[in-house]
């Protein structure tokens, strides 16, 4: 079926116009999906790149004259590092428990799966308000870097758990059997044999999580706040790049700067997606 040529196809569609119509519809739909993406990217880049040269856009200090995005970029890196530092060990360890330790039909495993699924479905604004109620109201921390990082860590936990789980499951059982056969214990097998071969898969998940953190705004506005300076402690208010863009847009005066910020965000996201795909592909070819 796959190797029929164009003329054969046309003949077939003449006999069955419905098939031709369906073929046309699927092609149009796929075209729409890609066209929207390409248009969005080109539009943002075309209108945004000239604005990257605005004076002081990358100045170290933010003020209302230059609305520099540099502090926001630094904050984004700090926020990402903090969230990952919390979520990656927890996520990887949970996945290790689910795949390597838990027995089949374990009740705890079912509960973990259900709750992880629930977490991944919660919208970011609900995370934001939860963080607000817990950290800002109940604990009286105010808007802080740490509140934002913890909120984001919970948000990306299910993503890291799922990708790590998939990566661990993909490690052939013969690896484990070989290690056990040589007299290694379960712990040594996990850390020396299973985890190293699952690293590319885990890494691909972590990179996707970075993308989520960089793009997040709704969960951060009411937990980390919108202060455009580099924080001097975990308990200072900060704004990440996405929140910076939100602030620029809501002030309504800085369309050009918003365009420039959109370019930076878009480039980062494209780079992150490409990197994740590349790492995942390496996983596929290694096996």
């Amino acid at each position: 079926m796959a190797n029929r040529n164009f003329r054969q196809r046309l003949k077939e569609y003449k006999r069955s116009p419905l098939s031709g119509l369906l073929f046309l519809l699927v092609c149009i739909s796929a075209f729409i999906a890609v066209a929207v993406l390409i248009f969005l990217i080109i539009y943002i880049l075309y209108h945004g790149i000239p604005n990257l040269t605005l004076p002081g856009l990358f100045a170290w200090e933010y003020n209302s004259e230059n609305v520099s995005m540099m502090p926001a970029i630094i904050n984004t890196v700090i926020m990402t590092a903090l969230s990952l530092a919390m979520a990656v060990p927890l996520g990887v360890f949970s996945a290790i428990y689910l795949v390597e330790y838990a027995k089949r039909g374990n009740r705890l495993v079912k509960l973990v799966r259900i709750t992880a699924e629930t977490l991944s479905g919660i919208p970011s604004i609900v995370y934001g308000l939860f963080g607000y109620v817990l950290f800002v109201i109940t604990l009286h921390w105010g808007y802080t870097l740490l509140s934002g990082a913890i909120t984001l860590a919970i948000m990306i936990l299910p993503l890291i758990m799922r990708t790590t789980e998939e990566a661990l499951i993909a490690v052939p059982d013969s690896f484990r059997e070989g290690s056990f056969g040589l007299g290694a214990g379960r712990l040594r097998t996990v850390f020396r044999i299973v985890l190293p071969s699952a690293v590319p898969g885990i890494l691909a998940g972590v990179i996707l999580a970075i993308g989520r953190i960089v793009g997040e705004s709704a969960a951060l506005i009411f937990t980390a706040g919108t202060n455009p300076v580099v924080p001097d402690s975990l308990f200072a208010s900060t704004r990440t790049l996405s929140v910076h863009m939100y602030a620029l847009m809501s002030e309504g005066l800085y369309t050009e700067q918003a365009f420039a910020t959109a370019v930076v965000l878009l480039v980062v996201v494209i780079f992150i997606n490409a990197l994740s795909g590349f790492v995942a592909k390496r996983l596929a070819t290694d096996k």
Binding site: M1, E12, S16, L18, S19, L22, L25, V26, C27, S29, A30, I32, A33, V34, V36, Y43, I44, L90, F93, S94, I96, Y97, E100, Y101, A102, L108, V112, I114, T118, L119, G121, I122, P123, I125, V126, L129, F130, Y132, V133, T138, L157, P158, M161, G185, L187, G215, S217, A218, I221, S242, M245, M249, F259, A262, L265, L266, V269, I272, N273, G277
Partner: protein, 283 residues
């Protein structure tokens, strides 16, 4: 000594695994403990059924926002689902491998673009187009629906594609053997067989659309009124929170916004539950 570290690590792994359980419990406890008393204070009917939202005058009716969220989501589903499913069909059954290598990362990228960038794009592109075509502000249900349809595409495509790929090849071959064309085989045997998986993708898309905040807040118009046409401006529950949380004073106004998030959360829990029930039935 070695034995000791083995068991210790086992319990550390187990403790990590319980973090997601704890997280869900803590989220529920904190949100509900703030939200439910507020809803009780305002009155369940006044809050959920009230059509007037004037916080400064003590009117806290979020019915227009609930309707707004549902309309915008419904619009996104109507526009996005057909395109998403057809695109998934293309990727699973029509796409040459070379094209797939471009298409799949493109769809993934569509999922990765931050919602704030989508919102900005819509404000700059879709809103002016709507102004030209229909007049008015260009912001409203239709504008928001179009953008949300784009944003839920990758979710629907991803789930629907894997559902289509999970259908046994024999279904397709059987249909071909009976003389059906490639297209007919795909649409009339594979698609019905993958129906419940595709439905699960649609439900997931509904969850995404109803919870979307930053993209919607700039293009939905944000009037807290019951809409009378698809061009009329609406305020979604998510937008209500973002718009007023910044300046809401301590007390009932702020608590009413948290209660709005609780209502949204309950919506999401129901959607999630139906998604996992549907998926369990598939397995």
């Amino acid at each position: 000594m070695k034995k000791y570290s083995e068991t210790a690590m086992k319990y550390i792994f187990m403790a990590s695994a319980t973090v997601s359980i704890i997280a869900v419990v803590v989220i529920c406890v904190f949100l509900f403990s703030k939200g439910f008393p507020t809803i009780a204070e305002i009155g369940v009917f006044n809050f959920l059924g009230g059509t007037v939202w004037k916080p400064l005058e003590g009117h806290f009716g979020i019915f227009p926002m609930i309707v707004g969220s549902i309309y915008v989501t419904a619009g996104a589903i109507i526009l996005g689902v057909p395109i998403g499913i057809l695109c998934a069909v293309f990727m699973a059954r029509f796409c040459p491998p070379k094209l797939y290598k471009i298409l799949k990362p493109a769809v993934d990228l569509l999922a990765g673009i931050p919602s704030i960038v989508y919102g900005f794009f819509a404000l700059m592109v879709i809103v002016p187009v709507m102004q030209d075509i229909f007049g008015g502000s260009g912001k409203g249900i239709l504008t928001a629906s179009i953008l949300l349809a784009i944003m839920i595409l990758p979710t629907i495509i991803g789930v629907a594609e894997s559902a289509l790929r999970a259908v046994p090849e024999s279904y397709y071959e059987g249909s071909l053997a009976l003389g059906a064309t490639h297209e007919r085989s795909v649409f009339f045997t594979l698609l019905p067989a993958a129906k419940s998986g595709i439905l699960a993708g649609v439900i997931l898309g509904i969850g995404r659309a109803i919870g979307e905040t930053m993209a919607v807040v700039y293009i939905a118009g944000n009037q807290p009124i019951l809409p009378d046409s698809i061009l009329s401006g609406v305020r979604t529950m998510t937008a209500n929170i973002v718009l007023e949380m910044g300046y809401a004073a301590d007390g009932i106004h702020r608590n009413a916004l948290i209660a709005t998030a609780v209502v949204l959360f309950v919506f999401i829990l129901i959607i999630n539950l139906s998604f996992s029930l549907l998926r369990r039935r598939n397995d």
